[in-house]
């Protein structure tokens, strides 16, 4: 029992990082039907941006809480803007042509971000200060739970809830939902489609950046390739939940985290990805549009 709870707790922690990135995938897909393969790399850029801020903050002897908050905010803003620039330069001109063409530019952007980061930060690993966060925790049903884990999970849920409320209750959110239904109709209704798409990228990018900073703080290691695997995982999570569906992405992310944790724990770490993908394929065979159905920015 205690071991099971331990796996669950660990899975939920990593799952919440996945979920934040998966949200961006799903929102962008919901609106322009693009699988944004560069999204995982936004997460990576976020981690580096936060790392720079933390390092600078430590140099200026700011209090730790201040450093962390600043790192989170700066990373979110920088990466959000980067995502908007990316949309403008590499995607927007191709929105009317074949969807595969955008897919390839997305892969190009991904490659450019990875190698750009390698040039800028080197190929090695950089580390957030290892002892910036407390390692202590408490016991829950015999499982060790870190305070940081709880905080990370809480922050992720907070961000997701914020996004949910934004999409549901603000005019821009309503426009986003309208767009995901029918872009042409939305345009005819006077919605500034380009603007809304840009805001979607801004939001998706910021959430990915937040996840990047949180993951950097929690695991300390960051590297220019860290977005690659994260992108793959988050994409899987988004599809599992039903791509285009915001609650689906959240649940999908958490589920993938837990599934990985359980299969690494009870079977073997070397088979965990096989198990995750096998479960995904099975789910899709029986529920062809994912757990929560697709394109449901509108059905939330």
């Amino acid at each position: 029992m205690s071991v099971f709870v331990q796996y669950l707790v660990n899975g939920l922690t990593i799952g919440s990082f996945y979920a934040l990135v998966a949200l961006g995938y799903t929102m962008i897909y919901g609106i322009i039907r693009l699988i944004n393969f560069a999204h995982g790399d936004l997460f990576m850029v976020g981690a580096f941006a936060g790392w720079l801020v933390v390092a600078a903050g430590a140099g200026m002897h700011l209090p730790v809480a201040m450093q962390l908050l600043l790192a989170l905010l700066v990373a979110m803003v920088v990466v959000g803007l980067l995502a908007m620039g990316m949309e403008r330069v590499a995607y927007q001109p191709l929105l009317k042509s074949s969807r595969l063409a955008i897919l390839i530019t997305a892969l190009g952007v991904s490659l450019a971000l990875e190698n750009g980061a390698m040039i800028a930060f080197g190929a090695g690993f950089d580390t957030y200060p290892a002892n910036i966060l407390p390692l202590s925790g408490f016991h829950l049903f015999g499982a060790q739970v870190g305070y940081v884990q709880v905080a990370m999970f809480g922050l992720a849920i907070l961000l997701m809830a914020g996004l949910y409320l934004f999409v549901q209750f603000t005019p821009v959110g309503t426009a986003m939902r309208a767009l995901s239904f029918d872009q042409d109709a939305a345009r005819l209704m006077g919605i500034n489609v380009e603007g809304v798409v840009l805001i979607t990228f801004l939001l998706g990018g910021s959430l990915a950046a937040a996840s990047g900073v949180m993951m950097g703080l929690y695991y300390t290691q960051i590297n220019f390739m860290m977005g690659f695997l994260m992108g793959l995982r988050a994409f899987t999570a988004a599809v599992l939940g039903g791509i285009g569906n915001i609650p689906g992405a959240m649940v999908g992310g958490l589920l993938i985290g837990v599934l990985q944790s359980l299969s690494a724990g009870y079977i073997s770490s070397q088979w965990q990805d096989v198990i995750v993908f096998a479960v995904l394929i099975l789910v899709l065979v029986f529920k062809p549009t994912g757990l929560f159905g697709e394109r449901v920015v509108e059905r939330m």
């Binding site: 990875e114 793959l232 096989v274």
Partner: protein, 605 residues
């Protein structure tokens, strides 16, 4: 258009290929072993690209795990030649068979998924194959398999770079030959139609799941073949060569080069493999610059560096008689109704369909006699198109029965319905837009063509005869609909009226007993409408029973033998045009809707 050839075209198209082949063959004379190796890399990726092109470029299925088939081919050859002591050539059939089987295994359960979901399934499959190869003992784990013998023919070892290069050229030519055969066949056209519009394709008689599965299987076969070559060439393989990144590279080859374009794919391979090599002098910046180049290329040429031809030569132009034989007379399109039997052409009874809380079709029943023109009319939202969809298997009815000349259609898929002799057109035109006009019609002939996959692969005598017959029939159909001159144009280039007529020609290509036309005159001006009604009568005269939907009472009354009126999902009248005009409920249904101007105006004044 990629390059404007102008007056040089005949020269280029005739001698260009030979020139390039000659260049490729003398290339080793001028190249050192490094560029030979790069050349072999390009040739390998061109093979992979051509295979994936069938899946992505033709069938329009996004595959992010294509390296899995590459891996399966490579591992099969590696294992059979090291453990099984087979020669390279003996392992080839097994490599091909294993990857084909893998294609079926991943394809069969998942091909009903929509494209983006399919993409992640293929991605997952690719990862599963790679991780499994890493974790298992007999595949050599992360070390992979060493000491794979090089191929040899009659004692000659393909060990030197030169000989391996020529072997790669030979393999590529084989792959090129067979993929082109497939592309120019019944199967190839069906793939393209699926890419363009899956539900329209199904509705004109293409069994989409089976056709997609073949795309998968052939893609897998050529991937496996490339893998076998790869293993024997490098004499050592490990799971690191078959990563997700590799699948992405192969996808880039196809999309960057130009989907469904053979020269494009080969060029794509040259760029994806060659460019990073050319950029080696940039050291650290190499892949960054490559990425920027990739984005720029895609932005400048969204259709690929060398897109597929946008317009085809008219196959029925001057001189076509020499190839095809004399054109068929239009009478040849006629069909005899003698074998149809005595029963009603179409007998619908108790049809019901509910969408959520709305009963869109409520207990509708009507009968269409053989050889008549029957119209179904009613205001917007009356359930006309839903009735069509239920009849043709697009929507599954909640209850009721549909019989075509006495044969029950219930529970059949759209392509089975077409096969049974019931064709349709769509309210919003759904042509295969980037295919040529004549190709659209040829896709419509799919249900009646007999060429199987082997015929398609080898272009057997039977297949060639059938293609010629189909083209002649296609020519006659296009002439019948007044489109023969436009046969080589892209469907999307046609005017609105021509597109409507092309859709009818495509539906007629399936040789239907009954033809359903969903608002064929929508959006036409009065004279076009009159011409269309003439066409409808001529179709009836061919021996085809016609059922059509329209708002326009003037139009319908002039042409119909029999009119069925629906309102709010129910049938409210059924009779001759005169009876309908006199029916009070019909008048009320139309005139009682002042919120819908079009309907009011549609009433004959």
């Amino acid at each position: 258009m990629a390059i404007r050839l102008g007056a040089w075209r005949p020269l280029v198209t005739r001698w260009g290929p030979l020139l390039v082949l000659a260049l490729a063959l003398i290339f080793p004379l001028g190249a050192d072993s490094y560029w030979l190796t790069v050349g072999i890399g390009i040739l390998t990726f061109a093979m992979l690209g051509l295979g994936l092109n069938l899946v992505v470029g033709y069938a329009g299925l996004l595959d992010l795990g294509y390296a899995a088939f590459y891996a399966i081919g490579a591992y099969t050859t590696a294992l059979l030649s090291t453990v099984g002591h087979m020669t390279f050539w003996e392992t080839l059939p097994f490599a091909v068979a294993c990857s084909a089987i893998a294609g079926v295994i991943v394809g069969y359960p998942t091909l009903r998924l929509r494209s983006d979901y399919l993409a992640i399934v293929t991605l997952g499959f690719g990862e599963i194959v790679r991780i499994t190869a890493t974790n298992l003992g007999f595949t050599g784990g992360p070390n992979g398999i060493y000491a794979i013998p090089s191929p040899s023919i009659m004692g000659y070892q393909f060990f030197s770079q030169d000989s391996q290069y020529y072997l790669a050229v030979a393999f590529l030519l084989v792959v090129l030959f067979f993929t082109r055969q497939l592309a120019h066949s019944r199967l190839g056209r069906a793939w393209l139609s699926l890419r363009e519009d899956e539900s329209a394709s199904e509705a004109v008689g293409v069994p989409s799941v089976r056709v997609k599965l073949w795309a998968y299987v052939f893609g897998a076969i050529f991937g496996g073949l490339a893998g076998a070559f790869f293993a024997a060439r490098l004499t050592a393989i490990s799971p690191d060569s078959f990563t997700y990144t590799q699948s992405i590279n192969i996808l880039m080859v196809v999309v960057l080069g130009g989907m469904a374009s053979f020269p494009g794919v080969i060029l794509g391979a040259a760029v994806v493999v060659g460019l990073p090599e050319v950029l080696r002098f940039m050291q650290l910046w190499r892949l960054f610059v490559f990425a920027i180049g990739l984005i720029a290329l895609m932005l400048l040429r969204p259709q690929g560096i060398w897109p597929a031809a946008s317009r085809k030569e008219n196959p029925f132009g001057p001189g076509s008689e020499r190839k095809l034989g004399p054109p068929l007379p239009l009478e040849a399109l006629g069909r005899s109704r003698d074998s149809d039997g005595e029963e009603a052409a179409l007998d619908v009874s108790g049809l019901r369909r509910r969408f959520g809380g709305v009963l869109a079709v409520d207990d509708v029943a009507f009968t269409v006699r053989p050889g008549e023109i029957c119209s179904i009319i009613g205001p917007n939202g009356a359930g006309k198109t839903t009735v069509f969809n239920c009849i043709t298997g697009v929507t599954r009815p909640d209850g009721g029965e549909v019989r075509l000349h006495g044969r029950a259609l219930h529970g059949q898929t759209p392509h089975q319905v077409v096969g049974a002799g019931l064709s349709r057109t769509f309210q919003g035109i759904r042509l295969f837009k980037s295919m040529a006009v004549y190709e659209n019609v040829l896709v419509g002939m799919y249900p009646h063509q007999k060429a199987n996959v082997v015929d398609s692969l080898l272009h057997t005598g039977r297949q060639r005869r059938e293609e010629r017959d189909s083209l002649l029939r296609c020519q006659a159909l296009l002439r019948f609909c007044g489109l023969e001159e436009l046969a080589g144009h892209r469907a999307s280039e046609l005017s609105y009226g021509d597109q409507r007529r092309l859709e009818i020609a495509r539906a007629l290509a399936a040789q239907p007993k009954v033809l359903l036309l969903d608002e064929p005159a929508a959006g036409m001006n009065p004279s076009e409408k009159q011409a269309l009604m003439g066409l409808v009568r001529r179709i009836r005269d061919l021996g085809v029973t016609v059922v059509l939907i329209d708002h326009d009472m003037n139009l319908v009354m002039g042409v119909s033998d029999h009119v069925v009126v629906l309102d709010r999902g129910r049938k409210i009248a059924d009779g001759t045009p005169q009876e309908i005009l006199a029916d009070e409920r019909v008048v009320a249904a139309y005139l009682g809707r002042d919120e819908d101007d079009e309907e009011v105006n549609a009433w004959p004044s």
